[in-house]
């Protein structure tokens, strides 16, 4: 078994082990989950070290790394077990492994049906890693759909009652299922369009030139809706605020940190190389929707009185920047977009964790009910400021790099749209600073005289993310180098 199978299936193994632990041994359950995700994190580190930055990645099978397969699975339908990484998927795999590990630590205070929670969480982990590692469309689809089940239960059972968890859970489920069934049709269409019929994603990419214009247009749109719901792109975004707010902290982190990235990952992995002509044709649409996301998300965030909703809407805004970058179809824009995906994953994870920390203590999230927390909990306030400054794109922190690259990449291609989008940066600064002022500054609200400081465990979940945010802000090369050659290779399809 290669590292990719291990990183995918060790969580599943952990989930199965957890089911056999007696209900009373709560610590054992948590430790198994921790060990499983810990091993995955180590494997991820090993992948990072062993990754060859110079290889070009998809669609050349030789450009992929850590390849396993293709091993025949259902030969009569040409389905195989085929996994591999390139500069596009590796950052996502690293992000997933890191966030899953952190989320297990962040879930330490879960009280209700522990075994169910942790085994579903690990199943979710398997689904996510599988999605990023698969090179067979069918395999990808199975993983893609498998993620829905644990997510539904995690939001529905462990979510917060006052935020309508049942409603949010089924809304998330239905929305994403609409997207995935369209993806299913696209998958079958590719199967019958290729000769010989295949689900091998790399082969489909190589044969992309033979697909007719109309075929590409329809398939592009079908896949686009599937991925747009995940990103989420306006107007398919309405599930997101509900789901994020209702979900328990760790699940919000995974939702915003990893699941949203699957949308943009899908656009990079499927839409661009498999329907290149249509991608070029619809580039402007992506840019416009990106701009809408940026500005609409920021305006909505500004209007929120609930801290978690504010973070949720800020995700919509930040994913818009990523869309704008990829819409440029130039190497710079695409690298920026992928950077933005990774950075948003770490920054938004921090923000949700921080919201969770304060929610655990005061059991509300109303921005206006806070005030002056800076004096009472200085360490918390420090980390809080770091995360939100990173989100507003302060130079020197990682958020800035991705945003800047996206805007610089998009500017030569879509001048007006980029200029309009840039107002979003100002709006972001507006809502972040305004919120920081209401929460941290001013006189201390007397209700919080006894507010305890952030605990060691909570700092442990935030510290690695904070370190990444700072380091990548000053020195982005370690991440940038991973993706450059793959993204250059991908952009080559669109080179005039």
């Amino acid at each position: 078994m290669g590292p990719l199978s291990l990183i995918t299936f060790i969580p599943l193994l952990g989930a199965i082990v957890i089911l056999f632990i007696p209900k009373e041994k709560e610590t054992a359950v948590k430790v198994v989950a921790l060990v499983a995700t810990g091993i995955c994190l180590l494997i991820a580190a090993q992948l990072y070290v062993g990754f060859d930055n110079s290889k070009p990645g998809a669609p050349d099978p030789a450009g992929m790394q850590f390849v396993e397969g293709p091993y025949p699975w259902i030969p009569s339908f040409n389905i195989s077990y085929y996994m591999g990484l390139d500069g596009l998927s590796l950052p996502m795999v690293l992000l997933t492994a890191l966030l899953c590990f952190i989320c297990i630590v962040a879930s330490w205070n879960i009280k209700q049906s522990l075994r169910g929670y942790f085994s579903l969480f690990l199943l979710l982990d398997t689904g996510m890693q599988g999605v990023f590692c698969s090179l067979d469309f069918f395999l990808f689809y199975i993983f893609w759909e498998i993620m829905l089940l644990p997510m539904y239960f995690l939001i529905g059972i462990w979510g917060s009652q006052e935020d309508r968890r049942e409603y949010s859970a089924i809304k998330f489920f239905l929305y994403t299922l609409v997207g995935s069934v369209l993806l299913l049709l696209a998958m079958l269409a590719f199967y019958f369009a290729t000769t010989p019929h295949t689900f091998n994603m790399l082969t489909i990419m190589q044969q992309a030139g033979t697909f007719s214009r109309t075929f590409q247009t329809y398939i592009y749109l079908a896949m686009f809706i599937g991925f747009a719901i995940k990103v989420p792109i306006f107007p398919f975004h309405t599930w997101l605020p509900d789901a994020h707010v209702a979900a328990p902290t760790a699940v919000s982190v995974i939702l915003a940190g990893v699941l949203l990235k699957m949308g943009t990952y899908g656009l990079f992995r499927f839409n661009f190389p498999m329907t290149p002509e249509a991608s070029q044709y619809f580039g402007w649409m992506l840019a416009v929707l990106g701009a809408v996301n940026i500005i609409y998300g920021a305006l909505c965030a500004m209007a929120q009185s609930d801290l978690k909703k504010l973070v949720a809407y800020s995700s919509i805004s930040h994913m818009g920047i990523s869309l704008l970058g990829m819409a440029a179809l130039t190497p710079r824009g695409m690298v920026g977009s992928l950077m933005q995906m990774f950075n948003h994953g770490t920054i938004t994870a921090m923000m949700f964790l921080l919201v969770g920390v304060v929610y655990d203590r005061v059991h509300h999230r109303q921005i206006d009910n806070f005030g002056g927390l800076r004096t009472k909990v200085p360490i918390y306030a420090g980390i809080f400021s770091l995360a939100f400054f990173a989100a507003l794109g302060l130079p020197g922190l990682s958020g800035f790099i991705g945003e800047a690259l996206c805007f610089i990449g998009a500017f030569p291609v879509y001048r007006t749209i980029t200029i309009i989008s840039l107002t979003g940066v100002v709006l972001t600064a507006g809502y972040v600073l305004w919120m920081l002022q209401r929460v941290l500054l001013g006189p201390l609200n007397p209700r919080y005289e006894d507010l305890p400081e952030i605990s060691g465990r909570e700092v442990f979940t935030l510290a690695p993310l904070g370190a990444i945010v700072v380091v990548l802000g000053i020195w982005p090369a370690p991440l940038l180098n991973l993706m450059t050659s793959s993204m250059n290779n991908l952009a080559r399809i669109f080179a005039p």
């Binding site: 689809y141 498998i146 089940l149 059972i157 049942e166 069934v181 079958l188 019958f192």
Partner: protein
């Protein structure tokens, strides 16, 4: 090649075993006194297992036309016969678990069940219009009796009456359609009919009316729109093991007959494709399929009784399977057959849970399932597997079945139907998830745990495990469907 009437007897061993077992059951019922439910179930299952072996043995016999063109012996019919047998074995075992079927009249019950199986066998292999009609009636009449089996229960009686009335009208319309076809072609043999239709120029309106009326019979058996009205009431009122059985066996028989009627009787080979005289039948079938699944799914959303909900869901699934027939291709047929196997597992599984829980939760309403996850995690998880399989989520056989159906549609360029089909899956998720939500997301009225006997647990596992495992590796099933696609091509 075609054996004469006497020689044909060699090829109907399964039918003979079933007939014999009907007689044995009736006589045994008279001889044995007292508690005989287990004994009768044992005899029935034993006879069915024997039948299964005799069917498997016939797989090697090749394709033949039996009884002067009345019946076909081919892999296609054998496949459906195996499907009935498996469904009947499960239904018989379910009856053991259910209080709906009492001990006193159990012999009668199984005798009727076996008579129904015989009818199903004939439906699967009939190649003559008259034979088809007789076989259909042979399935219908025991179905009426079985659905009204609880004489003392009003709902059961109502179900039987409704079933009889709808069934009577449908088969009347059907035989009228068949008579028109006979009038036009001068034959009742399917193959000769196809030959005449392709060479002569039949009057289009008569042809249309004839086939459309014949469709009434098939549509009624598979419960497709607009012949579905009986379905929810009968499913709700009938004893649950009977409902479970009716949801799969007559439906499968209906599809077998429908497919044979169109493939062998109406269409003719034009090059590599099947072609039609006069009317664009695939398009009409596609419209029926689209309406059937949409109606079934949309109306199911409003149901609070689980049996009624599963009835509407079975209408929807008839629509899905109809999509396989629409393409009039080997791929479509194979997908339909694969889906039937999937449907057998997941639907019978869901009904088994309803049977087991009816007494323990005091009802069949979704509300009664509130908090089942906390009271019996195993049952709740197993039901979730079946429901998600019916929805078409991985890793279950339901998803694979749907993928084969959609693959057939896309290969044959039925894009609009495929889009309607997949979107229907989303509607379906909503109402299946309502049950899941009640079980896991809502609090139980009492926290008292539910304990099931080991036998029930084993039975649940025996159905749930293949539902998941075949969702991960389904080569054996698709190979079986592949081998079983071959229909007899000529008299």
């Amino acid at each position: 090649m075609s054996p004469n009437n006497l020689e044909s007897l060699n090829y109907i061993l399964p039918e003979m075993i079933v007939t014999l077992s009907v007689l044995v059951l009736v006589i045994l019922d008279l001889l044995v006194d007292g508690e005989k439910k287990r004994l009768m179930t044992g005899v029935t299952v034993a006879a069915l297992v024997l039948t299964l072996f005799s069917i498997a043995a016939l797989y090697r016999a090749g394709e033949r036309s039996l009884f002067e063109g009345m019946m076909a012996l081919d892999a296609f019919s054998l496949f459906f016969k195996m499907l009935f047998v498996v469904a009947t074995i499960l239904a018989a075992v379910f009856s053991l678990e259910s209080a709906d079927v009492g001990s006193r009249r159990i012999g009668e019950f199984y005798a009727l069940l076996m008579a129904l199986v015989l009818g199903g066998f004939l439906m699967a292999s009939a190649t003559d219009l008259l034979m088809m009609y007789l076989a259909l009636e042979m399935v219908s009449i025991p179905s009426y009796l079985l659905s009204g089996f609880q004489k003392e229960v009003r709902r059961s009686n109502e179900a039987a009456i409704k079933y009889v009335i709808y069934g009577g009208v449908s088969s009347g319309v059907m035989i009228y359609g068949l008579s028109l076809l006979y009038g036009m072609t001068g034959t009742t043999n399917l193959y000769k009919m196809a030959e005449v239709l392709s060479t002569s120029q039949p009057y289009p309106l008569t042809l249309f009316v004839g086939i459309a009326f014949a469709m009434a019979g098939f549509g009624y058996k598979v419960a497709s729109v607009p012949f579905h009205f009986w379905c929810p009431d009968v499913y709700e009122g009938a004893p649950t093991p009977v409902t479970a059985f009716l949801s799969i066996a007559p439906k499968a028989a209906g599809f077998a007959m429908l497919a044979r009627f169109f493939y062998s009787g109406v269409a003719h080979q034009a090059g590599a494709q099947l072609a039609f005289t006069g009317v664009d039948w695939p398009f009409l079938l596609a419209v029926i399929a689209a309406f059937t699944m949409t109606l079934g799914n949309v109306v199911a959303v409003w149901q609070d009784n689980l049996k009624r909900l599963l009835a509407y869901s079975s209408i929807a699934h008839a629509g899905y399977m109809m999509m396989g027939v629409v393409t009039l291709s080997g791929e479509g047929l194979r997908a339909m057959m694969f889906y039937l196997m999937a449907y057998l597992l997941m639907n019978l599984g869901a009904f088994l849970v309803v049977i087991l829980m009816a007494r323990r939760l005091n009802g069949e309403d979704i509300g009664a399932y509130k908090g089942l996850g906390a009271r019996s995690l195993f049952v709740a998880v197993v039901l979730t597997i079946f429901l998600f399989s019916l929805t078409g989520l991985p890793p279950t056989i339901g998803l694979i079945g749907k993928i084969y159906l959609f693959a057939a549609l896309i290969e044959h360029k039925w894009y609009w139907l495929a889009v309607i089909g997949v979107l229907n899956g989303v509607v379906a998720l909503y109402y299946y998830a309502r049950i899941v939500r009640a079980m896991f997301l809502e609090q139980p009225a009492t926290a008292e745990p539910i304990a099931l006997p080991g036998r029930s647990l084993a039975l649940l596992t025996a159905i749930a495990a293949p539902t998941v495992l075949f969702g991960l590796y389904w080569t054996p099933l698709i190979d079986l469907a592949d081998r079983s696609m071959r229909m007899l091509t000529g008299p």
